[in-house]
Structure formats: C-alpha cells, structure tokens
Subunit: 328 residues, 2 copies
C-alpha cells in the first residue's frame, strides 16, 4: 500500500480536476491510499481508501512563496507537506503555486542530509518519443558547481528508478561540447563530473541537441533550465503560429492542412511535456510532485501515478545513500 | 565611399563563396571598396574597387582562438583586423573561427573606451517577420550586471541605427516577468536598467516570448544567449524530424505534404536566422561582422551589406558617445 497526500485546492481548475484525478487513480490502483486536503464544502468523493481532511486556508498563485508557507499554516498545501514530514504519507502532489510548493518542500518536508539545494526535475519530450530527464528547472537559480554535481546524482537516481534506465547517460548542458567550453560554472562542474564514477558522465551537450536523445539525463542550473523549458514551450507555440499564418492563406493548402490535422495534433501531443506527468522536487526527505498549474484531470492523474512510482521505487532512499557516498 | 576589409579564407566553403559574394557586392554597390586578404593562388577577381593583399597563413576552425591571433600574424583574419585598426578600412567581415574573430576584435581592433566586454549580436527571426535583436550571443560567458547594462546600450544603438527602429524597446531576458524574478545577475541588472533613461527599458521578457515581437532588443549574458540561439536552431530541426516521422507515414499524407512543401520551405526560411545576415561584434573601435561558418555566397553578401550599413550609420561613433555618457 502506498499513501499519497494530495492538495485539492491548487491549480487553475481545482478542485474539480483534482477530484476527478483522485477518483480515477483510487479506482485504477488497488494499492493506493489518498490523504486529501482542502475545503470540505467542495469535497464530493466517498471511498474507503480516501481520507479527507478539511483545511481553512488556500495558497494562491499571487502569494509570495516563503511568506505563504510560513503564515498560511492551515492551507491545504502546508498540511499536505506536513503529512509527508510526519510519515502519514510517503509522497504528495499539488498543482498550486510552484514557488510555494518548493518552499513547503524545503521548510516543511525538509532536505535530505547532505543535499545543499533541492532541484526540480521533469521528463521533456524527445524526437524518439522516449523523453529526457532535465534538471534543475528552476529550484536553484544561482547554482555552484557542487550543486550541479549533486543534480547529476539526483537525476541519475531519478532516471534509473523512475524511468527504469539502467546506467543512464548523464550530460552537462553547455555552450560547446569540448571539455574546456562554457562559463566558470560549467567548466568547474565538468571537471567534477569527469572524475566521478558515481554516474555515467558522457560530457557536455549543447542546447540544439536537447530533444535528440543523446543523453538520458541533462544537468543544468535552475536559471538555464527554466529558460530552456520556457523556450521549448514558446518556440513550439510560435512555430505553430507561423505555420498557420503561412499555410492557411490558400484554399488548396487548407484542404491539405485538414488532411494533416490529426497528425499535427499527435505531434503536438508528443512534444507536449505535460503529457510526461508533473515535475518532481528532488533532494527532499519525501516525494514532492508538482503537477502543472494548467493541469487537466488526466495530467493530475499522471502526477499522482508518478508520485506513487517514486515511492514504490524508493527514490528518496536511493538518493539518500548516493548523496551520502558523495559526501564521504 | 565605404571601405570594407574581407577575410577570403574563413568559412566552410571559402574562398569560393567569399569571391562570389565580393563580386556581387562590388557590382551592386558603387560606393563600396573591398580590401581582400587571402591566398593569391586562389584569388580570381579583377576590379578597380577591389584591392587584393596576399597572406601566407590561415586560421582554421580547430585553432585555439587567442593563440591563433597572437601567432598567425600573417593570416588573412589578423591582416583584415589590422586594416580596421589602421583605418585602412572602416569595417571587416569574416566567416572564419568565431572565437578567433572575437580575439582579433579584442586584441587587434581594440575595445571602445569605457566598454568592459564586447558582445556578439544578431537579429533572430520573429513571428511577424520583423526580427528581434538578441545579445550577447557568446562573447562574454561570465557577465556581471554592468555588462548586461552595457549590452543594453549597444543593442539600443544597433537597433536604432542598423535596423532603423526609433526608440527601440529593450527587454531583459529572465525566468519571470516580475521585477524581483531571476538569478542574482538578472536581479541586479534589472535594477540598473529600471533606473536609466539612456534607453527604453520595458522590463523582463521570458524565453517563451522571444519570437513574439514583444521587444526590439533582448539583452542577456553570453552563456544564456548562446544557449538560447542553439536551442532555437536545434528545436526547429528536431520539430522538423518529428513532423516528417509522423506525417510521411501514410500515402494520403504524402500528397498533402507535397502541397504544403513550398510553404514549409518558406517557413523554414522565415525562421532561419542566417537569412538575417551575420552577427556583429559590438563594443569595438570598428565594425566587425561574423558571417556564419556555413555561409553560402548569399549569406556572405548579406554580411558585407550589413557591415557597409553599420559603417554608414556610424554605429561605432554612436556607441562611443553613449557608453561615454554612461561612464560619467
């Protein structure tokens, strides 16, 4: 049995999509228990494996993250994180304010011993459809080389346990493939990674190859990772616009476009990273999954499943061990 | 009359494409003189406004930039830069080793007084087709806030003079639009830019909006700029692959794709940043234009025209004045 705490109040379309997702997950997985936090006036489910707890406050997208976590003690997000802290649940899922969830992870759940800075990880789409693990996506915008090294360890365990990749190829995101390329940060991180046998370091990777399946794990700092993630997101949309502008200007093309429409949708789906579940905050003493703020029920369901697998494969214990080894 | 020095030996397809481009440019522009440096055995042109000078050495893509510039004194690239330094030419163009050209700019042409670090700038494609000025693309991978501020000035002058945009909107590339977002670098740069009246600062811009025409000039550090440029390049190619894989799998789609082929090519062209000319090294005491290493004759011709316009619009003098003002 795996017990997951869920924030019913976070996300653009909460609580509806959360309730739908929880209902589907609890029916699909017989070994799942859910501890659900939110406003009881909006709670509509009834299931022996769902425990509901009323909370009187809510953290919004506008809240300043650290302050919200420190002051809104009876919010669904803080209570959910406390459940993980107190071992009432092994993991938790929220689609709420990302910064607040990172703060809840840091200040309520707490870091693993030896982890300097937690990192946000997600699987981004790749050309083969397999997907690539990318971290940090924004937890630590001012990283040092040792943080990148630690991100590599966290990413290694994540790819191995959660994605089932034996000996994952770990690459460092950089502005050139040669060892001496980069800024001071990546040059220093490269040196540390090149000397380790804790993971399979395959060298630098450039941003033009991110979707090309050259590595299983791509490591970067939170500033660059967030930048790249948003760029991928935006460029896909911008290209879509340009294609529409150009192609739909003639009737002949409209017909052709109609024929291709279904396939274009399939492509958009393949390249949509929300299809790959939520992002996970690594380096904490518990599983914390961030579902996208704009999640629909299916995406939130994926995030719950992701949290469940993370608990079952004991990624937290595995990370605790590996980071401990690195510290020695 | 504008006199441009040209490196005949740089680039994947040199000297052929350089010779073709020089011939076309000299015929198209009656007020252009070219000072051409390279191997005389390969020089095939003959025109009263072309002065040819033989050089005995060549800088290759494999050369270590600084060492190459310091040791290969009789290379076409060093001689070309010296021509700018000695006022024999107002500007120069090379498709050779980017790092070496940056070193030649720095050590031979020299910086403008008050410029701490030169920046590499290019116009990247945008949805409207107008294009956006992005800098720094990799000259200064470890930037400080004052370098970003200076990049903003250089970008402002470039957009105004070379692209003819009155009062260009200057934005700071960041991981959030709010003033307090970012890493230590962007937070500090934001503060400096928000207080100035030297240029029209419009705030932060996220990587997802880069192609959306929200700003005329986007300022970032050389590490992030290079990352984003390569990501744009790579993502376009990766999307192309996915579209091909998915769409060309059925005969019906093949027909539809055939109808769209011409338009898809037009789109690829619109989004291809090499169509917008070369990149320019700003902050130097002369115009230094880098044509893409894989330039064809047309792209190299665009780079020559770009250098010519930069000289005519006196961007160097304009930058000298504005940077001087900022220093006071």
């Amino acid at each position: 049995m795996v017990k997951i705490a869920v924030d019913m109040m976070g996300g653009d379309d909460a609580p509806q999509i959360v309730l739908e997702a929880v209902e589907k997950a609890i029916n699909d997985f017989e070994d799942l228990e859910i501890l659900l936090f939110g406003d009881e006036a909006k709670y509509t489910l009834n299931h022996p494996r769902i425990t509901f707890r009323h909370t009187s406050e809510m953290i919004t997208m506008e809240d300043e993250p650290v302050r919200a976590i420190k002051r809104k003690k009876d919010s669904s997000m803080v209570r959910m994180a406390e459940a993980v802290k107190n071992d009432e649940a092994e993991g938790c899922v929220s689609a709420g304010n990302t910064g607040a969830l990172m703060s809840a992870g840091l200040f309520v759940v707490g870091r693993l011993p030896g982890v300097a800075r937690p990192a946000l990880v997600a699987t981004i789409p790749s050309v083969s459809g397999k997907g690539t693990v990318l971290l940090d996506l924004g937890a630590n915008a001012d990283a040092k080389a040792e943080h990148l090294y630690q991100n590599a360890i966290l990413g290694h365990v994540y790819a191995k346990k959660l994605r089932g990749i034996e000996n994952p190829k770990v690459a460092l995101l950089n502005i050139g493939t040669e060892a001496q390329k980069g800024n001071n940060l990546t040059k220093a991180a490269y040196k540390q990674m090149a000397e380790t046998d804790q993971f399979n370091f395959v060298g630098n990777i450039e941003a033009k190859s991110i979707l090309e399946d050259e590595a299983d794990v791509i490591v970067t700092d939170g500033f660059t990772g967030n930048m790249i993630l948003k760029n991928l997101e935006g460029v896909a949309k911008s290209f879509g616009k340009v294609i529409k502008q150009n192609i739909l200007s003639s009737a002949k093309n409209k017909l052709a476009a109609l024929v291709l429409k279904k396939d274009m949708k399939a492509i958009a789906k393949q390249m949509d990273y929300s299809e790959y579940g939520g992002s996970v905050l690594l380096g904490l003493d518990g599983v914390v999954v961030k579902a996208h703020g704009s999640s629909n029920a299916k995406a939130f369901y994926s995030a719950i499943r992701q949290a469940k697998i993370a608990c079952e494969t004991q990624i937290v214990d595995n990370m605790r061990e590996m980071v401990g080894d690195a510290d020695e």
